[in-house]
Amino acid sequence: MATGPRARRLPRFSRTERALHWVHASAFFVLFGSGLCLYLPSLAQLVGRRPLLKDIHVYTALAWLAALALVLLAGDRRRLLADAREIDVFDDDDLGWLHRRGNPQGRFNAGQKVNTIVTAALAFLFTLTGFFLWYGERNHAFRLQNALVVHDWLMYISFFLVLGHLYLSLVNPSTRHSLSGITRGWVREDWALKHHAKWAAEASRED
């Protein structure tokens, strides 16, 4: 793979897209950590201060939702809508890629599309079950016996999803350059041509 200062750069993710990603990512880790301290007896024992942890968990969830709304309101909505449309549509190359046939990919590969869709559903379901957990304590008519079980299942699913995401973005040598796209906003053209050939060809022409 060509490297070095002369490699061409392709703009990959805008500030709005990066803000959306990092709002989501940072909130996830705070919520995951504080949630585990509330849930696992061994951690609860180690950390203590349950009311404080609970406040951190609940207020982080509110801050997360508010920050997502802020990004949507103040950010580049046109760009986000374009992303949503792109993620919505799976073409034959995407289906081939999912069957490990190595088909050329657009700006989001099929795996990234699936990850985004599952993450969006998890975010919605975490919010729904979290609301019932929070409000159910204040009004027992809203206390759903299964809300915590589902909240926990979502936690396990997210944990493994994030683990895979971190492996691909931080560890796996052939994919970890993708991190540059979501931190600095650009990726090397040679990397893009290999991993997102259809998008890279188009982006190079526009450049």
């Binding site: 609860a44 869709i117 304590e137 589902v150």
Partner: protein, 234 residues
Amino acid sequence: MSDVPESLPPSEHRYGRRGFLVLVAGGASSLLWAGPVSSFLSPLTSAASQLVGNLFPVGGWRIYTISGSMPIFDPSSWRLEIGGLVKRPRTLTYDELTALPRAEQTSTFHCVTGWTVKNVHWGGVRFQQLFDLVQPLPRATAVRFVSLEQPYEDSLTLEQLRLPDAMLAYRLDHQALSRPHGAPARVILPEMYGYKGVKWLTRMEFVAKQPRGYWEQHGYDQNAWVGRSNGYRS
């Protein structure tokens, strides 16, 4: 958006929003079926949970330990010591405890971590029976409950223990209390979170000043009223 064609070429499919809606519908509907599924899987998850430090939900219940293992109840050697500020300290065997007049109740169990089990049937002894047996001194204001699982302990005031549904339970859902649920006997006070209900009970000590229990020393509230303590607000 106006620049999006209504119909896609045959090689393209709108799987994204369909997938999202299927996941959301499946996840939201699991609020109805997650409990039974979780109970069905509980023999498996229970074993796995014990192995890895109670990580997985077990049926409606989560079994927590602070030491990593559950005390074993031996009916021949188990004793319940009742002492402290009382006129007549007593040591009860399991048979003596279960020979006392039995009370039954169905109540909801609330854990401070957020889960709830409804319609739990308990059988056991009202605390007033034990009070009559040992006759607390006027100076006694609370009882310190000590578990076989050391160093777990907690306490309740005499007033709280006289609430009509406070109980020293030795039966759960019409069977003898099982090991995970605190065999042979545990404290039940449905109005408070479960950490106040000491399991694997071995000692009751009447005291003048209510001591802080295991979780209280880790920042939990002494009076663990459901919905009105530990950061929960009514």
